[in-house]
Symmetry: C2
Subunit: 564 residues, 2 copies
């Protein structure tokens, strides 16, 4: 491809609002351009990368026998209503009403639609197991699109779905997909770690995410350096020591004027944060007010609590909620509170200082179980240094970008949608279902976030937009131009993908663009080289320079570009 | 691919509401399935065909130097508003409002969005000409989706766009695309005729459609068997003889009680329909009432009238409109009418019978020009037998399916969107723009509509879902199964695409499915054949049967499947 007429120009500087290295480089190298917040166009260079990422995923999906198909973007409400997700997804859905008044949603994912096809097409156990997938645009009206392609409102997802006859088959299919994902990410140059994850608004129980550890990530990943344990913070657990039973004396009030935060109390009472009980009033999606009781040195894990209360959005309680449960803001405690009480498993059977539900007052020697009742649940965040639930070693916490996720639903969707097949024993059974997703644009930017240097992108060869960047200069020199074009034609004849810089620009501009765009090999055809019968090859990653004989250059470059 | 677990089952009978042969076969052969009116899923077999069609188009587009990219589906209103199409497309648009109140449209096409990118990315004439394209989902809320994939509400379109520096360049680029389209349709097995067409709601003046002539088509195509003239009825013209000037006497009223139609008048007055003037009151999009005057034997051409009145939807005048212009329903005539009067070019300077704008009354000897004034325009349909505008021979009219269209806009979009580049002479000039579209799903069904027999689809080899359909029977016989699976593996190793019928079904069911799905070659591996060391090959199209030695079968089939 000729760079002079390439649609999409490189930028010397990134826009001021670009947030991460990958976001800046993605814009500067003309990978993609925004049309609205979180809505992007792939320019030709980025498109080539996206298609290579897709092709790697396709090959791995085909390799485990999955069948490619394509569902629509505009999806009828009726199927979403069968599972209740027409309502639960509303906050992030792009809804459409047609001119006849029918409701649709820009596809958020496709579980309901694929399950609908499955119940029509798959009649018998003899057609199972079967896995299908497609690459299709998804719409998600994220409140905060972020960092270029890392969190967008429209993106192409490879989503796959599998139908099995029983749980043993599902397990096999699920792990086959896990393997395909691991191979796909490795091939595209992403060092992706499989971690246990929360199922969020997807339903079901078992799920894994593929996380690329990088500081630009939004997710918090809990890792054990001693064993293979790893989990998203939303799901991570720790090994907690069993506390001794309490010997605390009876409760007594303590005046704490104006001390309404953990920090205030630590300072005022001279105790550790861990000796306090933090009681948070949370309004669940249905309007129920839940009091969550945690040690003062622990943070609430919203995902765990959301799951406990049945999903949906959580909010802090409002004034009316406080009044209803007789809580006083800043002095809430579990004793005598008129709310559903959830006691985190980190809370020991010992005496704590807790809010007294009276202004400027706390209570000493509050013992869970003795002085107040509540349901026990794990609703806290793991902290660095907590013990690994598997081996007991200290856990670490890192930032990660989720580049893929897989969900083992079991009969969850089939039950909601009445989707059954004729089993081998003659009965009708629900399909054991799973789904598997990779967002292509996020994968592309994550590759950039983890493969760049000061000068620009350093593409892994498998996903580079072009194998070779041929730079001719000066192009006004007929001999140089002829030599460059002969080389380009020869390379293309050998199946090498070439970006040919035929612009009448300075060496500085051309080399800077070559570094920015980041093809693995740069070949310079200059006046001096042509005279000496040579071309200069520079490896983008190492900076290593080779001089090749012009006559043999195409053959050697083909080997360098596509080592077999 | 194994047929036992193929996602998508063949149907013995088509649903009762399937409208055309292709619609029925498309459903029966598990090409696609509806999820809502006009919204379809490609099942794996159909997906393979669609991707082959796409790949043919891609190769032809790349062949003329066009660059592939990808714009989003969810497109912001702001760009559509720059050209006014936010409003004019509303009747067929799937509109979306996001949670912040911003307006979007599911992409109808992408002219505005591509022009926006062009004005940002293309600064100088040195970057021109440039052509880009993408395959992307489009949404069009058609009031009447029709005949399966022939008229749908969501479909993938290959839409391409070109930017040129001047009209001469635009012309060259436009015809390069015309050639690429002609080659692409020929390669996918469509006999597509290029015809002149109306530009509809796209803007601009020059446009061509690629029409496949078939009775299932909705479009009426005017053809000259004597020369190369061909045009969509919406645009077609005829050569009209100049009439002699009128010698008619003065107008006089004639009583025509209850005779309000052309047929009534022909019977009552004993004259030819061509001796009557038909005056139709039409309400244009802006509310203006237009009286269209045609000879009684000519039909109004809505597309021509729509263009004349500035676009938008046309409707028949309502009661209030009639009152306003002093027209009496059934007895409307041009004389004394208080409306804008458009006189079709078919109306001669002679005496006609016309409505008198009085109940039960007409007027004789009404002479255009003498008795009423009006603007002259071509707003009539061509009829079979009319003279070709080019050579004068009698024209024919056929039905066609529009499988592609190309539009030469000139500066139309650039002017509306203020999109200019730095020209070679140092001035800023508007981009000369064009766009080019092919709907993939309509192309696929049109291939079926023109390639089938009583038993099913007969795919052209270039777009067949599989090259070879291997039918093993009985599959319970280990020897047969081994022979079949060895052959399948050998074929796949040679790059032949195989559908392998490994189902435990009768020969009748399996052969019927093979005919229905319509792969070019069917290979039967049976007990008898295996014993004789043979395989039976049947060509789907001709029914010709060949017996091949099993040992050499894969090599020979590879040659039959992919003749070089």
């Amino acid at each position: 491809m000729r760079q002079s007429t390439l649609f999409g120009r490189t930028l010397r500087d990134a826009p001021a609002d670009a947030q991460t290295p990958g976001h800046k480089l993605m814009l500067r190298a003309a990978i993609a351009r925004p049309l609205a917040a979180g809505i992007y166009t792939w320019l030709p260079i980025g498109f080539r990368v996206a298609k290579k990422v897709e092709q790697i995923i396709r090959e791995e999906m085909n390799g485990i026998g999955a069948q490619e198909m394509e569902l629509p973007v505009i999806t009828p409400a009726e199927y979403w209503k069968e599972t209740g997700r027409w309502d639960t997804l509303e906050p992030v859905a792009f809804r459409i009403k047609d001119h006849s008044g029918h409701d649709f949603m820009v596809s958020y994912t496709h579980e309901e639609l694929v399950m609908h096809h499955g119940r029509s097409e798959l009649l018998s156990y003899r057609q199972l197991p079967v896995a299908v997938y497609h690459f299709q645009s998804k719409g998600r009206d994220e409140a905060r699109p972020r960092a270029g392609l890392l969190r967008v409102r429209e993106f192409v997802m490879k989503d796959g779905y599998s139908f099995d006859a029983d749980l043993a088959g599902l397990d096999k299919t699920y792990w086959a997909h896990h393997g395909a994902y691991a191979r796909a990410f490795a091939r595209m140059g992403l060092d992706a770690l499989s971690v246990e994850s929360d199922t969020g608004n997807m339903g079901g129980d078992v799920a894994h995410e593929f996380q690329v550890l990088t500081d630009v990530g939004e997710d918090r990943i809990v890792l054990c350096p001693g064993c293979r344990y790893s989990a998203n913070m939303e799901k991570a657990v720790r090994r907690a020591a069993a506390g001794a039973a309490s010997t605390a004396p009876a409760m007594e009030p303590v005046s704490t004027p104006g001390a309404s935060s953990i920090e205030d109390l630590v300072r005022t009472l001279g105790i550790e944060a861990g000796g306090l009980l933090k009681t948070m009033l949370i309004r669940a999606a249905g309007g129920e007010v839940v009091a969550v009781v945690l040690p003062g040195d622990r943070e609430l894990n919203e995902a765990k609590l959301r799951k406990l209360v049945g999903g949906g959005e959580l909010a802090f309680a409002n004034e009316a909620d406080f009044a209803k449960v007789r809580g006083i803001a800043g002095f809430v405690g579990p004793v005598g509170l008129g709310a559903r009480i959830v006691v985190d498993v980190s809370v020991a059977e010992r005496g704590y200082v807790a809010g007294a539900n009276r202004k400027d007052t706390h209570t000493r020697n509050v013992v869970p179980g003795r002085d107040f009742a509540g349901e026990r649940a794990d609703v806290h965040d793991v902290k660095p240094g907590d013990e690994c639930p598997s081996c007991g070693k200290p856990l670490e916490i890192r930032r990660g970008v989720e580049v893929g996720n897989i969900f083992k639903f079991g009969p969850y969707y089939a039950d909601k949608m009445g989707a059954t097949f004729l089993a081998e024993d003659g009965t009708r059974k629900p399909f054991m279902f799973a789904s598997y997703g990779i967002g292509v644009s996020r994968a592309v930017q994550t590759i950039i976030e983890t493969n760049f240097d000061d000068a620009g992108i350093v593409w892994p060869a498998a996903v580079a937009p072009f194998d070779v960047h041929v730079v001719a200069m000066p192009v006004k020199d007929a001999e140089v131009r002829t030599a460059a074009e002969t080389l380009v034609a020869d390379l293309e004849g050998r199946g090498v993908e070439v970006l040919y810089d035929d612009r009448d620009e300075s060496a500085g501009v051309k080399f800077a663009d070559a570094d920015l765009i980041g093809c693995p090999l740069r070949v310079t055809v200059s006046k001096r080289n042509v005279g000496a019968g040579k071309v200069e090859v520079r490896r983008r990653k190492s900076g290593e320079v080779l001089m090749l004989d012009a006559a043999a250059a195409a053959a050697e470059l083909a080997l360098l570009a596509k080592p077999s």
